[in-house]
C-alpha cells in the first residue's frame, strides 16, 4: 500500500516542480541570449571576405599586436605586483586592512574615463612625473606605456582579489606544518601557498587579461594615439578598441564589424586553449588541486 502511495505521489511532485524549472530556464536562457545575440550580429554583419581582408590588413594587425603585447605586460605586472598584495591581504592582520581592500576595489568601481583623466593629470607634459618617466625612458603620454599603465590600473584588481580569496582558502595549519618542518617563509610560500592557490590565481589572471584587452575609456584619454617609443617601433597606431571606435565614428560599420570579428576570434581561440589545457591537466596549476 505504501509503495502504491509513493508511486502515485512521485509524478505529482515532479509536475509541481516543473513550472519552477521552466521559469529558471526561461530567465537563464534570456540572459544567455543577450550575451550571444550581439556577438552573432557582429559576426554576420560583415561578409567573411571582409573579415579575412581585415585580418590581413596592416593597420589592424599592428593594433592587434599592440593590444595583445600591452595586455600581456599588464598580466605580467599583475603576476609581479598583484599576487604579493593578495597574499598580504589574505595572510596578515594589520591596521587599515579594510581600507587597503577598498583601495583595491576602487579601479573596479570608478568610471574608466575618470581613471584616464586622473592618470593624464599625473603625467601631463610639464608635470614632475612626465619629466621623470621621460628621463628614465618610460614616457607615458600617447605611448605603449600609457596603454599598459591604464590596463594595469583597471585590470590588476581582479588578480589581487582572486589571489586574496585563494590564499585565504588554504588551511593555515598546512602552512605552519611546512614552516615547522624546515621551510623558511619564502620557501613555504613557493612550495605550499602558491601551488595551492595557483588555480584561483590563474582564473584571476585570465580575468585581468580579459579586462585589459577590452579597456577603452582610460586609453581614449591617455594614449588615444600610440606613437613609437619603448618596445614599440612601428607606425603610429592605436589599440584595437580605439581602432574599432574610430571606424564606427567614421561611419565605416562593416570595417568596424570585421575588425571586431577578428579580435573576437583570436580571444575565443585563446580562451578555448586555456580551458582545454586546464581540463586535460597539462597546465601546471591543475596540479594544485585536491585529488578526487
Amino acid at each position: 500500500m505504501n509503495r502504491e502511495a509513493e508511486g502515485a505521489s512521485t509524478p505529482r511532485r515532479r509536475s509541481r516542480g516543473r513550472p519552477w524549472l521552466v521559469l529558471q530556464l526561461v530567465l537563464s536562457g534570456s540572459l544567455l541570449l543577450l550575451f550571444l545575440l550581439p556577438i552573432y550580429a557582429l559576426f554576420t554583419y560583415a561578409p567573411p571576405s571582409e573579415i579575412l581582408s581585415a585580418a590581413s590588413n596592416q593597420t589592424v594587425d599592428t593594433a592587434i599586436w599592440l593590444t595583445f603585447f600591452a595586455s600581456g605586460i599588464a598580466v605580467l605586472a599583475a603576476v609581479v605586483f598583484a599576487i604579493p598584495l593578495g597574499y598580504l591581504l589574505a595572510r596578515r592582520a594589520f591596521r587599515g586592512r579594510s581600507l587597503v581592500e577598498s583601495v583595491v576595489s576602487l579601479p573596479i568601481v570608478v568610471p574608466h574615463l575618470l581613471v584616464g583623466l586622473g592618470l593624464f593629470f599625473l603625467v601631463i607634459p610639464g608635470s614632475p612625473l612626465y619629466r621623470f618617466t621621460t628621463a628614465i625612458g618610460f614616457p607615458v603620454y600617447d605611448t605603449i606605456w600609457g596603454v599598459v599603465l591604464v590596463m594595469v590600473f583597471v585590470s590588476a584588481p581582479y588578480t589581487v582579489l582572486a589571489a586574496d580569496l585563494s590564499f585565504r582558502a588554504i588551511d593555515a595549519r598546512v602552512i605552519e606544518a611546512s614552516r615547522a618542518l624546515g621551510a623558511g617563509p619564502a620557501t613555504a610560500f613557493l612550495t605550499v601557498s602558491l601551488p595551492l592557490a595557483l588555480r584561483g590565481i590563474v582564473a584571476g589572471l585570465l580575468l585581468t587579461w580579459a579586462r585589459a584587452v577590452s579597456e577603452i575609456g582610460g586609453i581614449l584619454i591617455l594614449a588615444y594615439t600610440v606613437y613609437p617609443g619603448g618596445p614599440y617601433n612601428g607606425p603610429v597606431t592605436s589599440t584595437l578598441s580605439v581602432l574599432v571606435y574610430n571606424l564606427f565614428q567614421a561611419g565605416d560599420l562593416s570595417a568596424a564589424a570585421a575588425v571586431s570579428s577578428v579580435f573576437l576570434l583570436i580571444a575565443f581561440v585563446l580562451f578555448v586553449v586555456v580551458r582545454l589545457g586546464e581540463r586535460s591537466g597539462w597546465v601546471p596549476w591543475r596540479r594544485g588541486e585536491l585529488a578526487p
Binding site: 588551511d171 595549519r173 598546512v174 605552519e176 606544518a177 611546512s178 614552516r179 615547522a180 618542518l181 624546515g182 621551510a183 623558511g184 620557501t187 612550495t191 605550499v192 601551488p195 595551492l196 596540479r287 594544485g288 588541486e289 585536491l290 585529488a291 578526487p292
Partner: protein, 337 residues
C-alpha cells in the same frame, strides 16, 4: 639526544594568555598536554613550535636559549591538528618535504626508507585525499621523522581515527619512543591512549598550568573537574549543586567532603543481588551494557549518579524505573580545587 626545557614561558594570542609554563622534556619522554577546549593546549604547542612570540620565559635546547628561533630552525617534527599534510603533493613528496627544503641530496632515498618503515610504499604515489585516517596519520608521522627532529609536537594524534587505527597508533608511539630518543609533546582528549603512552601529564586550565604530574598521581588525586572526568570519575558535582540539599540526602553527605570546585567519585559498584542494600537509594533512569558490565544512571535527588554492575549479568539486572540501593565509599570521594 636532545633535552629541552621550558622555563616560565608566557605567550598571548589575541586576548588569551597562556602560562607561565614550566616543563622538562627528556629524550624518549612523552608529555601529554590535557585540558578542556579553550584551555590553551594548541596555543602551548604553537608557542613551542615558534609560531607565537614568547612574552616572558625561555625555551632551552640542551641549555641553549632558542626562544627567539623561527620555527624552521628549531628542528621539529610537527603534526598540527588535522595533520597539515600537503594536499598537492603525493605521499612520497610529503615525506621527503622536510629534507627537500633543507636541500638534502638524499631526500628521496631517506623518504623511501621511511615509507618502507611505515608500510606506506604501496601508497607513495597517492595524494592525501585518497588515504584513510590511519594511513594519513602514518604519513604525517613519517614526514615528521623525515625532519630528523629533536622535538616532536603532535596535536590530537587520535582525532578522527577508528578503533583499529588507534590501536595501531599506540604501537607506533611505543616504537617511536624506543627508536627515536626524542622528547614528544602530545595534545590529547583521549584518556586511554594518553595513559598508554605518556610519562608526564600537563593539565591546562584557562591558560594556566593546573598540574604537572605522572599517571599514578593523576589517577589517584584528580584535582579539578576536568582531570576527575579525564581519569574516569564519572560522578562530578559542583558546590552550588550540593549546597542546600535536604539533610540526610546523598548531596548533603557529599557537601562537607567537597572542595571549592566540588567533589568527584568513580562509579560505585553494585554487587549482583545487592539491589536492596546500601546507604543510598535512587530510581534507575537508564541502563546501558558496556565491556565493564552494566552502566546505570540513577536519580538521587537532586543528583544523577552513575553506577556500575559488573559482569556476569544475570537475569536480575535492574531495569529503568526500578529502585536500587548503593554505597559510596568514603575513601573514593575526592575534594576538587
Amino acid at each position: 639526544m636532545t633535552s629541552w626545557s621550558v622555563e616560565g614561558l608566557e605567550t598571548t594570542l589575541d586576548h588569551f594568555r597562556l602560562g607561565p609554563v614550566d616543563l622538562a622534556l627528556a629524550p624518549g619522554h612523552v608529555t601529554a598536554v590535557l585540558g578542556s577546549s579553550g584551555a590553551g593546549k594548541t596555543t602551548l604547542l604553537r608557542s613551542l613550535a615558534g609560531f607565537l612570540p614568547a612574552r616572558r620565559g625561555r625555551l632551552l635546547r640542551d641549555g641553549v636559549d632558542v626562544t627567539d628561533l623561527p620555527p624552521e630552525q628549531r628542528r621539529l617534527g610537527y603534526v598540527p591538528q588535522g595533520l597539515g599534510l600537503f594536499p598537492h603533493r603525493t605521499v612520497e613528496r610529503n615525506v621527503s618535504y622536510p629534507l627537500e627544503v633543507r636541500g638534502r641530496l638524499d631526500a628521496r632515498v631517506r623518504a623511501r626508507e621511511l615509507l618502507e618503515r611505515f608500510g606506506l610504499t604501496p601508497l607513495m604515489h597517492r595524494h592525501p585525499a585518497r588515504l584513510s585516517g590511519g594511513e594519513l596519520e602514518r604519513v604525517a608521522l613519517a614526514r615528521a621523522l623525515a625532519a630528523e627532529p629533536e622535538l616532536i609536537l603532535w596535536d590530537e594524534p587520535w582525532q578522527a581515527l577508528d578503533v583499529e587505527a588507534r590501536h595501531e597508533l599506540g604501537f607506533v608511539f611505543e616504537e617511536l619512543r624506543e627508536t627515536e630518543q626524542v622528547p614528544v609533546v602530545v595534545v590529547t582528549h583521549d584518556p586511554s591512549l594518553a595513559f598508554s603512552v605518556a610519562d608526564t601529564f600537563l593539565v591546562l586550565r584557562g591558560g594556566k598550568v593546573g598540574l604537572t604530574t605522572d599517571a599514578a598521581s593523576l589517577l589517584a588525586h584528580p584535582t579539578d573537574p576536568f582531570t576527575a572526568r579525564f581519569v574516569g570519575f564519572e560522578n562530578v558535582y559542583d558546590l552550588p549543586t550540593l549546597r542546600g540539599a535536604p539533610p540526610g540526602s546523598l548531596a548533603a553527605w557529599l557537601a562537607p567532603r567537597s572542595g571549592p570546585e566540588g567533589v568527584a567519585f568513580p562509579r560505585p559498584v553494585l554487587s549482583p543481588g545487592s539491589g536492596s542494600r546500601g546507604a543510598w537509594t535512587g530510581l534507575v533512569r537508564s541502563v546501558h551494557p558496556t565491556p565493564e558490565g552494566l552502566a546505570l544512571t540513577v536519580r538521587v535527588d537532586p543528583l544523577l549518579v552513575a553506577l556500575r554492575l559488573p559482569p556476569p549479568l544475570g537475569t536480575g539486572a535492574p531495569s529503568v524505573g526500578a529502585t536500587v540501593a548503593f554505597d559510596v565509599e568514603e575513601k573514593s570521594v575526592h575534594a576538587l580545587g
